[in-house]
């Protein structure tokens, strides 16, 4: 694993606030995150955990009524918060690329695949690609081959609605790879796909990572996907990080009660026809965050200290850390 000091991405104390200064609604409430070069880091959480907003903040895509603040958001050593808007825009798409959940919503239905690849190369390609249309076309064909799309020349003339879900997602990945990014952010890339296609796309992402030494920030709620693809996982709940650790160690011996509860609730974890252990209650909304530990109202192990005092993030062995007053020990 890469050393901590040359992390590709380093985020410290990220906060994203919707709502007004009088009534702040924190979607992300103090997150630390680092990604090493070529590492696959999974950001895991349920809806309302703030995982998608974190990724958007990294890309600079959080829109104006929301406020983004952080001690540091660094990419390849450069602080993104200090950059001018134009510089930051140039970085998005070239150094960092992003793919989303629904490929048919992310591809422009009015333009062909070839057109959209061409546009990506015109802005994010290298000098030769930006200059010459022929070079761009060659590169487009190469990119489609890299994402395992057969009959690439014909596919360049297709419109997005003519593609199946899996193929559209591959096209999205090809467009994302056009700028030779060092980091790919994938926001629930396989949730909308059939399970066999999901397996193909995940295998494709891992292969691309191996070939290009590209880091991937994988945002998902599916623990099994994390177990199979990620090197490290960051578990989020209600806007904060609860636990981080390497995979599979994190799932073999979870320290935080929330991670343990997620595992217990996952269908694949138990035996056939066994009742799942569930967490009572629901995730607190942005306006109703408890003053102490965020999980305390629902946690089976909550004590007085938990409702009064919010725990800080504690480093455990190696790259693992946990935010809990009474971290579970390995059983």
């Amino acid at each position: 694993m890469s050393g901590k000091c040359d992390a590709l991405v380093e985020i410290r104390d990220l906060r994203v606030d919707f709502g007004t200064p009088a009534r702040p609604l924190p979607a992300v409430d103090g997150i630390d995150l680092s990604i090493g070069a070529g590492e696959i880091v999974a950001l895991v959480g349920e809806s309302g955990s703030g995982k998608s907003v974190t990724a958007l903040a990294l890309m600079g895509l959080v829109d104006v009524p929301a406020r983004v603040a952080a001690q540091r958001i660094a990419f390849a050593g450069r602080d993104l918060l200090q950059m001018r808007a134009a510089e930051r825009r140039a970085l998005a798409g070239r150094g960092i690329a992003m793919i989303f959940q629904d490929p048919h919503a992310s591809l422009d239905p009015c333009y062909t695949v070839g057109n959209q690849l061409d546009e990506a190369l015109r802005f994010h390609g290298n000098a030769q690609e930006r200059a010459s249309k022929t070079v761009r076309r060659e590169r487009s064909l190469a990119l489609l081959g890299e994402v395992e799309i057969a009959d690439a020349a014909a596919r360049l003339r297709s419109y997005p609605h003519q593609l199946s879900g899996g193929m559209a997602q591959r096209v999205m990945i090809a467009i994302a790879l056009a700028g030779r990014p060092r980091l790919l952010i994938a926001d629930e890339p396989t949730t909308a796909l059939d399970v066999t296609v999901q397996a193909q796309v995940l295998a494709l992402l891992m292969r691309v990572r191996d070939e290009r030494a590209m880091a991937i920030l994988l945002i998902t709620h599916d623990l099994a996907v994390v177990a199979e693809t990620a090197d490290r996982a960051v578990v989020m709940y209600a806007g904060q990080v609860m636990e981080t650790g390497t995979v599979p160690a994190l799932f073999d011996a979870p320290r935080h009660p929330y991670t343990r509860a997620l595992l217990d609730a996952s269908p694949g974890h138990g035996a056939a026809r066994e009742r799942l252990r569930t967490i009572p209650g629901v995730v607190p909304g942005a306006a109703h965050r408890p003053p102490g530990c965020l999980l305390a109202p629902r946690c089976a192990f909550a004590a007085e200290r938990c409702t009064a005092e919010r725990p800080a993030m504690r480093r455990i062995a190696g790259q693992a850390s946990v935010r809990c007053h009474f971290a579970l020990t390995a059983e």
């Binding site: 609604l25 909304g285 942005a286 306006a287």
Partner: protein, 291 residues
């Protein structure tokens, strides 16, 4: 936290727009005027004061507060006629839009729910009606039925009809495939219950907005018909008819023309502002979502 009722949520969204509130206030004022016309108006709208024909409004020399906005060619008080005219205009708007809306909802429901032959028949009929300029269509209807206020209302209702049918049909087609409709079907609901009890309430929003805007259309159409002598007949104090009989005096006594014209303008503006505010408040996409 006590959940807000739907009405309270709607009001909060509506009240965000100053234009909408202004429009609503104006509408309320107009309704009040219409209801209290007998009490508020200083004179009878049809009483002729032969000694005071074409008297100017009170701010011109020669005018007096007795006839605050002046009098017309046969000595009737313009202010009183305007106030009573409010009653007529609102009546025309309400009745025309109600008839049109009811008929339009029913036709649109049937067309959108049953599709096929029923849909084709209804929509082609509506297409024919839309192909004619609305005023010409209104004139044609009145020509058949004979001039008069009631017939003018029928004519306007017919002219407005295709818009409601199309709107309703589009909304029904969009909603009929939704899962909550299938859920009611599986519970055993028949076609009529599905159409009127399940689907119709969910299609109401665009129609309410269109109805408000249609109000102002109706008033304008009624004024046009009145102007042409096909709507209200003298001495009824309808604004359009007042405009028609006053045209020849536009040089000598301009107030006889501008007063009813301004009345029409203000009323149409009020309803349009209210309609816009309603649309913004009822459209779930434009509204900021609840936390």
């Amino acid at each position: 936290m006590v959940p807000a009722s739907r009405l309270a949520e709607f009001w909060r969204a509506f009240a965000q727009s100053r234009g909408a509130l202004t429009g609503l206030a104006l509408v309320v004022a107009l309704v009040a005027l219409a209801l209290g016309a007998d009490v508020v108006a200083p004179h009878s709208p049809i009483e002729q004061f032969r000694d005071f024909t074409l008297a100017p409004p009170f701010w011109d020399n020669g005018g007096s507060l007795r006839f605050a906005l002046g009098t017309d060619a046969v000595g009737r008080d313009i202010l009183s006629r305007l106030i009573h005219g409010t009653r007529l205009s609102l009546l025309i708007g309400t009745i025309s839009v109600s008839i049109s809306l009811t008929l339009g909802c029913i036709l649109g429901l049937f067309a959108g729910y049953f599709r096929g032959l029923v849909d084709t028949a209804i929509m082609r009929l509506m297409d024919v009606m839309l192909a004619l300029p609305s005023l010409l269509l209104a004139i044609a209807v009145v020509a058949i039925l004979g001039p008069g206020l009631i017939n003018a209302m029928y004519a306007i209702a017919i002219v407005l009809l295709p818009h409601y049918v199309r709107l309703m049909r589009a909304a029904v087609i969009a909603e009929a495939g939704r899962e909550y409709v299938t859920s009611s079907r599986i519970a055993g609901a028949g076609a009529l219950r599905l159409m009127f009890s399940t689907i119709l309430p969910n299609c109401a929003a665009p129609l309410i907005v269109q109805a408000t805007l249609g109000f102002s259309n109706a008033i304008l159409d009624a004024a046009a018909l009145g102007f042409l002598g096909l709507g209200a007949q003298p001495p009824t104090p309808e604004w359009g008819a007042m405009l028609a009989s006053a045209l020849e005096f536009i040089q000598r006594a301009p107030w006889v023309v501008t007063s009813p014209g301004l009345a029409i303008l203000v009323t149409v503006l009020a309803f349009n502002l209210t309609g816009d505010g309603l649309r913004d408040a009822l459209d779930p996409k434009l509204r900021r979502s609840a936390a």
